[in-house]
C-alpha cells in the first residue's frame, strides 16, 4: 500500500515565473521513510505544504493515507503530523502549555491532553524545561518540542521538513536518534533534507529534487551505483605496481589507473566483495602484499553533484561550510575524507 502518492504536481509563483514544483511525482510505501533531498529552493517545503493541505497546487493530484488531499483536506489532517522547517510553537508559552493546547485542539480532552503532554516531554527529554517559555529554549529543544507537538495523536503519516537544519552537531545527533525511534514504531515518514548524510542515515528511499523536479530516485545504494558504481583500490610498494595493475585490470575487465604519488592502483568493478577477494588471491599468488585494499563506493555527495550539476555543488559547499562554522569538526573531517576517497 502506498501511504503517500503525489502525481504531476505543479505550483508556480509570481505568475508562473517561479516554478516551485514542476511536474513533481513521488510515492511512499506504507511504513517506510522517503527522503526528499535537494538544495535550497528546490521545492521541498512546497511539496510538503501541498501534501499537508496547506497549499493548493496549480495542477496535479495527491493522496495521503489513501485520502485525496485536495478533495478531503480535513480528513487528511486527522491522520498526519507535520513538523515544519521553522519551529511552529507559541514562543511566549511554555513547552507544557503548547503541548496541552495542541492536545486540546486535537480534541483529546483536558486530562488526556495533560497526560500526553507529560509523556511527550519525558520522551523528548524536555521535562526539566517544560515550565519555561519556548523563547528560552535552544534550537534543538525547540525542534524536539515541535516534533512532539506533531506526535500528539499518533499520526499515520509524518512529514518533517528539514528537521535538523540549523542545529548544532549534538542537536542533530539527538534528532536523528529520535527520528530513528519513531521509524521503528512503524510510522510512514517523508523527510526533506539538504544534507546527504542525513538522507543516507535515515531514509529507505531517496528522491533527489532540483528546480521542482525529481531528477533521481532510488535507495542510497542504487543512487550511488547510478553515478558510477564501485572502484577497487589497491596500494602497493613501488616495485609491485606493474604486476598489481595487471591483476586489477584482470579482475575489473577495464584498464587500471594509477595514482603515482599514492602508489594507488584502481579500476571500476561490478562484482563487489568478490572482486576484492579475487584480486587478493592473485596478488598473494604473486607474492605481493598490498599495503591497503579497498572497495570504494561513491558518496551521496558525488551523486548529488553528478545529478544536479554546479548549482547543487555550490549548495553542498555552502552546507559544508555552514556546518564547519558550527564547529562540527568531526563530521567535517569525516566528510572531507569521504570526498578524498571518492576523488582518488
Amino acid at each position: 500500500m502506498k501511504s503517500i502518492v503525489a502525481e504531476h504536481l505543479v505550483r508556480t509563483y509570481r505568475n508562473g515565473e517561479v516554478k516551485a514544483l514542476n511536474d513533481l511525482s513521488l510515492d511512499v510505501e506504507e511504513g517506510t521513510v522517503l527522503s526528499v533531498l535537494g538544495p535550497n529552493g528546490a521545492g521541498k517545503t512546497t511539496v510538503v505544504r501541498v501534501l499537508t493541505t496547506l497549499l493548493t497546487p496549480d495542477s496535479g493530484s495527491a493522496t495521503v493515507g489513501g485520502i485525496d488531499v485536495l478533495k478531503h483536506p480535513e480528513k487528511v489532517r486527522e491522520i498526519i503530523g507535520l513538523s515544519g522547517q521553522y519551529a511552529a510553537v507559541d514562543e511566549t508559552l511554555t513547552g507544557w502549555d503548547n503541548l496541552v493546547m495542541f492536545g486540546r485542539l486535537y480534541h483529546l480532552g483536558k486530562k488526556a491532553s495533560v497526560t500526553r503532554a507529560d509523556e511527550l516531554l519525558e520522551r523528548f527529554s524536555l521535562t526539566d524545561s517544560a515550565r519555561r517559555p519556548i523563547k528560552t529554549y535552544s534550537g534543538g529543544m525547540r525542534r524536539r518540542l515541535d516534533l512532539a507537538a506533531s506526535l500528539i495523536v499518533q499520526p499515520k503519516v509524518l512529514f518533517l521538513d528539514e528537521p535538523t537544519t540549523g542545529l548544532d552537531p549534538r542537536g542533530r545527533q539527538e534528532m536523528w536518534g529520535v527520528i530513528e525511534e519513531l521509524v521503528k514504531g512503524g510510522v510512514t515518514l517523508l523527510l526533506t533534507t539538504q544534507y546527504l548524510d542525513e538522507a543516507d542515515q535515515l531514509a529507505d528511499d531517496i528522491v533527489v529534487v532540483d528546480h521542482g523536479k525529481v531528477i533521481a530516485r532510488g535507495t542510497s545504494d542504487a543512487l550511488k551505483k547510478q553515478v558510477g558504481g564501485e572502484r577497487l583500490e589497491v596500494v602497493v610498494d613501488a616495485a609491485h605496481i606493474s604486476v598489481t595493475m595487471e591483476a586489477v585490470a584482470k579482475v575489473s575487465g577495464h584498464a587500471a589507473s594509477l595514482d603515482e604519488g599514492l602508489r594507488k592502483v584502481s579500476a571500476p568493478v561490478t562484482t563487489g566483495a568478490t572482486a576484492l577477494i579475487e584480486v587478493l588471491r592473485l596478488l598473494d599468488a604473486g607474492g605481493i602484499h598490498p599495503l591497503d585494499v579497498a572497495l570504494k563506493r561513491p558518496s551521496l555527495d558525488d551523486v548529488f553533484m553528478e545529478l544536479t550539476g554546479h548549482v547543487a555543488e555550490d549548495q553542498v559547499v555552502v552546507t559544508d561550510s555552514a556546518r564547519a562554522k558550527k564547529k562540527d569538526k568531526k563530521s567535517n573531517e569525516k566528510k572531507s575524507s569521504k570526498k578524498k576517497g571518492a576523488q582518488s
Binding site: T56, E78, G84, L105
Partner: protein
C-alpha cells in the same frame, strides 16, 4: 460545538500569553488611563462645556470609544504576528475548523477590552467622572462599547490577514483609527471644524458611538452644528447599524480570506 470549543482554546491561549507576559496587559491599560489623565488635566481646562460636572463627563465616553477602536490594531497585529511565524501552518494542519483561530482571537481581544474598560472606568471615576443615568443604562453602554470593539476586531482580522509583516499592519491600522477617533466628537465639539469635515465627523461611527454612550451615561446629546441628520438624531440606532454592517462584511470576508490564504 467543536468549532466553538476550538475557538475557546485559542482564546485561552491568548489569556495564557497575557499571564506569561503580564507587561502586555499592563501597558494596554496604562495607555488609555494616561489618555484620561492627559485630556482631563491638560486640555480639560481649555475646553469649555455647558455641562454640569464639566469636561470629564464628555471626555470619558470619547476615551472609551477611542480605546475600543484601537482593538482593530491590536487584533490585526496579533494575528499578523501569528501569520508570519510558522505557527499558523501548525494550526492549519490540525483537524480543527478553519474559523477557530480567527474567531478565538476576536473573543480574546474582546475579553481584554473588558479588563481595559473596567480599569479606565475606575480611573475616570477617580478623576470625577459620574454617569448620571441608572445602572442598567450604564451597563448597556459598556455592552455597546464591547460590541463596537468586537466588530472592529473583525476588520483587524482582515487587515492582519492582508499584510505580510506585523509591523506594517500595526502602523497601517493606527493610520486608519487615529484620524477616525479625532475626526469625531470624541474630544471636542465638531462645531469648530470646517464645514465639510463636520459632515465626515457626523457620519463617523466613532461619533455615533460617542454620542450613543453619552446618551446612555445620562448626558445631553452633544453633536455638531449640522445636528439634524439621521446619525445625530439616532446615534444608538446608527451605531448598531454600523456594527451589523461591519460584521456582515468582514466576518465572511475574513473567514474566506483565512481559509484561502494558502492560495497565496
Amino acid at each position: 460545538m467543536n468549532a466553538l470549543m476550538d475557538a475557546l482554546i485559542i482564546t485561552k491561549r491568548q489569556l495564557l500569553q497575557l499571564a506569561r507576559v503580564p507587561e502586555v496587559l499592563i501597558f494596554s491599560t496604562i495607555q488609555p488611563v494616561m489618555f484620561v489623565l492627559l485630556f482631563r488635566y491638560v486640555f480639560g481646562g481649555s475646553i469649555a462645556t455647558g455641562d454640569p460636572g464639566g469636561y470629564v463627563q464628555l471626555l470619558m465616553p470619547g476615551i472609551f470609544v477611542q480605546t475600543t477602536a484601537f482593538t482593530l490594531a491590536a487584533t490585526a497585529s496579533g494575528l499578523a504576528e501569528d501569520m508570519t511565524k510558522g505557527l499558523i501552518d501548525r494550526f492549519r494542519s490540525l483537524p480543527i475548523s478553519r474559523s477557530a483561530l480567527v474567531f478565538g482571537r476576536t473573543l480574546g481581544d474582546g475579553l481584554l477590552n473588558v479588563v481595559v474598560l473596567a480599569v479606565m472606568g475606575i480611573a475616570g471615576f477617580i478623576v470625577g467622572w459620574r454617569p448620571s443615568s441608572g445602572i442598567f443604562k450604564i451597563g448597556l453602554a459598556f455592552i455597546f462599547l464591547l460590541a463596537f470593539g468586537y466588530s472592529l476586531s473583525w476588520v483587524g482580522i482582515f487587515a492582519g490577514l492582508s499584510a505580510r509583516d506585523a509591523r506594517v499592519v500595526q502602523n497601517l491600522s493606527f493610520l486608519i483609527t487615529f484620524p477616525l477617533t479625532f475626526l469625531s466628537n470624541a474630544f471636542a465639539p465638531t462645531t469648530g471644524m470646517p464645514r465639510p469635515l463636520q459632515y465626515v465627523a457626523e457620519w463617523n461611527p466613532v461619533s455615533t458611538m460617542v454620542a450613543a454612550c453619552r446618551e446612555l451615561f445620562g448626558l445631553q446629546n452633544h453633536f455638531g452644528a449640522t445636528a439634524n441628520s439621521f446619525p445625530s438624531q439616532h446615534p444608538l440606532t446608527m451605531s448598531l447599524i454600523y456594527m451589523v454592517v461591519i460584521l456582515a462584511i468582514f466576518v465572511p470576508l475574513s473567514v474566506r480570506k483565512y481559509s484561502h490564504a494558502n492560495k497565496k
